[in-house]
């Protein structure tokens, strides 16, 4: 082939190459001009990333600015399990060694740690639960261990510096930052703040590219919430409840301290309770229930204040008028006083002091009548939530007046057949104490901007309505003071102050709804002081303390009430209004010689001395007593009065008695008894009523009360 043709072919190849290059250039130009906008838009989705900027949650303070909850630094523990590259030495090389050192610091078991640290499926792992959001101190400890591959990621979490303190009021925000209950939940809109955003261009791993910032909207931090609680008073409440819980293990307890003039709650606590810092340890979620607002119960005698106030307001109560106590007949039903037989013909004032049911049936059922009684119950705020700024508030239960049987209306006058919340009781009695105005109870005082100190929202007392007149209020206060000085409330006297109040001992309704459970009581007391110008109101409810008898049950509530009221009055520097100091009632009494007395007289003498009489046998006169004359006993102790010869006695029913009571009983009767189990008697092998003699050995079966439910 000739040279020319070869050259021509080379030129042809060159032309071909040139043409292909022109196509490449065209294609490049096309992508970079025509397709560019669309590609930029598509790629933007890939590059752009929006991060939420989390706001700092507001803190919770008491009325004096004492810190109750705040958001602070925390660390999440991360273990790097695999190296980045060959030279990377910062990873967990010896899982067992690392687990051994971390286990005590994190309070996570070795097993769980080793399991996490030897995972094959991930490059790194967050150590769950125990390693998630640990506090600063734990973080420091981990840092000091200098473990290769263990990394701390800084984050934030909620702290409750006082631990299990006002836990039902505060509630908690969980580690995810979600408000779960209490003030944290009800004030979440203030506390949570507004998240901001941060938009930027990222690389494939999510990091911001150089010059990749698109826009920033800063987060708006949450606001601080100031409560009406007073940390000091709350402390008295917590201490009093702790003390009783330790000694008597009641099923549950509630105590509320309020300023009756403003409706502000100064203290509120329940048992059982929990530590919001470690909410995940809660096994039984019922401990989270704030019984003060979320539990309804039969108030019992404390409810009589409502009936009394209504009767006074309507001019139906005359203190010196007399009536026949003991029982009241309504159709087929008979309502008894709590001691069963009453006190003969007594005045209405005495009736109130002795908490006579019959007195209140006359006042409420006979004189006020159904319509007016219901009207007052509603006016006092029962049947609807008070509106306190706490979540989960209950309405309580009132009977439908159109369907209520007369006897049901009658029992309502003394607090049976009506269900209320503790906070409703506090609001109602506050109205009686403050001169007659129902005020909405409140627990949030103000909302403040933590940066500027500006008060954003201030909660003033909300006066709902006038319920009774000033005069009525004053008269009822005086009557209630006599309950404490001369009636059922003598245990509740406080040195230096006029205390007014009302006791309540309510039998618990049976769980099957049929009547009342024997031996199961809710003890309560509501009282305020000083009587003339009440500064404080304290309501205490104790459900089934493990005590031997009713008298001791009342001592439980009185110990709570007195320690809270006395400490708080002194802390608030309330001037004592009583010049003559009441002598502290003696806590012991001496047993008189009772042998030979008529059984009824002996019984009264024991009661007057402060003991609890227990008559054995149906004889007229006391033949034998236990303990002997001259013996000193703690108040509330039982004095046994035997009225029959031992041989003639019938086997008593031991059910419900404590081991000690049963022992005493048996020794008096001269019965040999064997005990199985411990706690309270639930059964016996010899049926009650059969003759004591010739029955061989008596076996009593006991069971602890806390086990029985």
């Amino acid at each position: 082939m000739g040279k020319k043709r070869i050259q021509a072919r080379i030129l042809l190849v060159g032309t071909g190459i040139t043409l292909l290059f022109i196509i490449l250039l065209t294609r490049l130009f096309w992508i970079q001009s025509v397709n560019a906008d669309w590609l930029v838009k598509e790629a933007q989705n890939l590059w752009s990333r929006k991060e939420v900027l989390q706001p700092q949650r507001g803190a919770i303070f008491d009325r004096n600015g004492e810190l109750l909850a705040y958001t602070g630094k925390a660390y999440t523990v991360i273990a790097r399990l695999k190296p980045y590259s060959e030279n990377d030495k910062n990873y967990v090389r010896n899982p067992v060694d690392v687990a051994e050192k971390l286990s005590p610091v994190l309070d996570v078991s070795m097993e769980d740690l080793v399991e996490q640290l030897t995972r094959e499926d991930v490059r790194q792992v967050e150590i769950p639960r125990g390693g998630w959001k640990v506090d600063e101190e734990t973080g420091k400890q981990i840092e000091e261990l200098k473990l290769p591959g263990i990394i701390l990621n800084e984050t934030t979490r909620r702290y409750y510096p006082n631990g299990a303190f006002a836990s039902h009021v505060l509630g908690y925000a969980n580690l995810d930052g979600q408000a779960v209950m209490g003030i944290e939940k009800s004030q979440d809109k203030w506390l949570s703040g507004k998240p901001g955003s941060y938009e930027f261009l990222k690389d494939r791993l999510g990091y911001q590219l150089p010059n990749g910032l698109e826009s920033i909207t800063p987060a708006e931090d949450g606001k601080d919430v100031y409560l009406t609680l007073d940390k000091q008073i709350q402390g008295y409440v917590e201490d009093a409840l702790d003390d009783i819980e330790q000694k008597y293990h009641p099923k549950k307890m509630t105590a509320i301290v309020a300023d009756p003039k403003t409706g502000e709650i100064l203290g509120m606590a329940n048992r059982p309770h929990f530590d919001p810092n470690r909410y995940w340890d809660i096994e039984d979620y019922s401990v989270q229930i704030n019984h003060a607002v979320s539990s309804v119960f039969e108030p019992g005698s404390t409810f009589k204040i409502v009936t009394l106030s209504a009767a006074v307001e309507e001019g139906l109560f005359h203190p010196n008028e007399t009536y026949q106590s003991g029982a009241y007949q309504i159709g087929p039903d008979r309502i008894h006083d709590h001691n069963g037989k009453g006190w003969g013909e007594i005045t209405f004032l005495e009736g109130v002091q002795k908490s006579s049911n019959v007195a209140f049936v006359i006042l409420g059922y006979e004189r006020l009548k159904k319509e007016r009684l219901f009207e007052y119950i509603h006016k006092f705020g029962f049947g609807s939530p008070t509106g306190i700024q706490l979540p989960g508030e209950e309405d309580g239960v009132l009977r439908n007046p159109n369907r209520a049987y007369p006897v049901e209306v009658a029992t309502m006058t003394f607090g049976q057949g009506v269900a209320v919340t503790a906070i409703q009781q506090v609001a109602a009695v506050s109205a009686v104490a403050n001169g007659g105005t129902l005020i909405q109870p409140s627990i949030v005082k103000k909302i403040e901007n933590p940066e500027t100190g500006e008060v954003i929202d201030q909660f003033e007392p909300v006066q709902e309505r006038r319920v009774i007149s000033e005069e009525t209020s004053e008269q009822v206060r005086e009557i209630l003071e006599t309950v404490v000085t001369d009636g059922t409330g003598t245990l509740y006297q406080i040195d230096g102050y006029h205390v007014a109040g009302k006791t309540g001992t309510a039998q618990k309704p049976r769980e099957d709804g049929r009547g009342y459970a024997p031996g199961k009581y809710i003890y309560s007391f509501v009282g305020f002081a000083p009587r003339e110008n009440p500064e404080l109101l304290v309501y205490v409810v104790v459900d089934e303390p493990e005590v031997d008898n009713i008298y001791l049950g009342a001592q439980v509530t009185s110990s709570i009430f007195k320690s809270i009221m006395k400490n708080s009055l002194q802390y608030m520097k309330v001037v004592p209004d009583m010049k003559t100091v009441v002598q502290e009632k003696e806590s012991e009494f001496e047993v008189d010689d009772l042998v030979g007395y008529a059984a009824v007289t002996a019984e009264q003498k024991v009661l007057d001395a402060g003991g609890v009489p227990q008559i054995i046998g149906e004889g007229e006169r006391v033949l034998k007593q236990y303990p002997e004359e001259g013996k000193r006993l703690r108040k509330g102790s039982t004095v046994y009065l035997v009225t029959r010869k031992t041989a003639d006695l019938a086997m008593p029913d031991f059910t419900g008695k404590s081991l000690r009571e049963a022992l005493e009983y048996c020794s008096i009767l001269g019965i040999e008894a064997r005990f199985e189990g411990h706690g309270y008697v639930i059964d016996q092998n010899v049926p009650p009523g059969s003759p004591v003699k010739d029955n061989g050995e008596l076996i009593l079966y006991l069971k602890s009360r806390s086990d029985s439910q």
Partner: protein, 364 residues
């Protein structure tokens, strides 16, 4: 035949040096981030190595520029034998990277025998064709032996497998055969057979089918087969006419895998825009034109064929590489001459240019 040699083609030298410089800058720009992460905070890991390769390559170019090109005739046979031996060796003891056995490792450096075989084949064919020019018009005694040799080497390369390099080798060889004077009819028939064979190869390996489908519509499988192309287009498109500015690429931040390698042109087009991209293409075109001129003005057929072979090799690699990153061809691993990171590719290309430059010294 030998006559006094003149100065080599200065325009060609200039184009080469410009492309090489742009290449080093772009290797740095595109590799710095990845280098930092993968090599303990060293931004310059790839750049330093590329500069060593460039120095080695320039040295090789200087040497070959001063070796009279016909000397290669003597070494053509041995050269091809060595190339074949290395290709066999790489199949036996080669290092497998990304599913292909292409590397012979020597310490931290590795060489790719397939790159070497392209040049060896060009030299061998130039000699064989120039000595058998008359036979090339015949099918059995001319075309078949030539194609037999080419096919054998191609087969070895496809065993790795490395379709891109194989395609460049075959394409270059066909251009040389065509220049020598093969009949158009023969070549057309061969082209048809080649296409069928090529289709067969594609259908035999599922990943190649995926790549074909991916190049037709990359958004069908954006996280899989279409990933690289989409990422490449996300680089080139937003670059626009002026580019984002040198160093301002976003796609090099782990979006585009190994952006300093086969896809270096995407990053260049992203940072320097159409302006930069077209400049590089035109520099290549100028270099190729000067190569064509050398082929036309070479004093003998061996020189013409050798020049055409080297020019065809460079041209095909540029066309295929840029065709791939702009979505005109399915993704095949092939480097962009002078720009892509890689020692074997760069030194071999510069050696080729050195030979080409020597030919220009004898142009009439």
């Amino acid at each position: 035949m030998p006559k006094a040699r003149s100065t080599p083609d200065l325009i060609m030298i200039l184009c080469t040096l410009l492309l090489l410089s742009i290449g080093i800058i772009m290797v740095y720009s595109s590799s710095a981030v990845i280098s930092y992460h993968e090599h303990d905070g060293d931004y310059y890991y790839f750049t330093k190595r590329q500069m060593v390769f460039a120095v080695l390559g320039l040295f090789a170019m200087y040497v070959t520029m001063n070796i009279d090109y016909w000397v290669w005739k003597k070494w053509a046979g041995i050269g091809l034998l060595i190339a074949v031996a290395l290709l066999v060796l790489v199949l036996l003891i080669g290092k497998e990277v990304n599913g292909a056995k292409s590397w012979l490792g020597i310490g931290s450096f590795g060489i790719q025998p397939a790159e070497f075989s392209k040049l060896a084949m060009a030299i061998f064919l130039a000699r064989w064709l120039s000595e058998n020019q008359k036979k090339i018009v015949t099918f059995s005694r001319g075309l078949m032996p030539a194609l037999g040799i080419v096919g054998g080497v191609f087969g070895l390369i496809m065993l790795q497998p490395d379709l891109g390099t194989g395609a460049v080798l075959v394409g270059t060889s066909l251009v040389m055969i065509y220049i020598t004077g093969a009949r158009i009819g023969h070549l057309m028939a061969l082209g048809l057979a080649g296409l069928i064979g090529f289709a067969g190869l594609i259908l035999s390996a599922p990943y190649r089918i995926q790549r074909i489908v991916a190049f037709l519509d990359p958004w069908q499988d954006p996280q899989g087969a279409g990933y690289q192309l989409i990422q490449s287009l996300y680089a080139i498109g937003p670059g626009g006419f002026m580019g984002l500015g040198l160093g301002m690429s976003r796609q090099k931040f782990n979006y585009l895998p190994e952006p300093y390698n086969d896809f270096i042109f995407s990053i260049l087009a992203e940072e320097l825009g159409f302006l930069g991209g077209s400049t590089v293409l035109l520099l290549f075109l100028l270099l190729l034109w000067r190569g064509m001129r050398a082929a036309i003005t070479a004093p003998d057929l061996f020189g013409s064929l050798l020049a055409t072979g080297i020019v065809g090799m460079i041209a095909l690699q540029v066309i295929i590489n840029i065709g791939v990153v702009t979505g005109m061809f399915p993704v095949t691993g092939i480097t962009l001459p002078f720009l892509s990171y890689g020692g074997s590719s760069l030194t071999l290309m510069l050696t080729g240019v050195g030979i080409l430059l020597n030919i220009t010294r004898y142009s009439r």
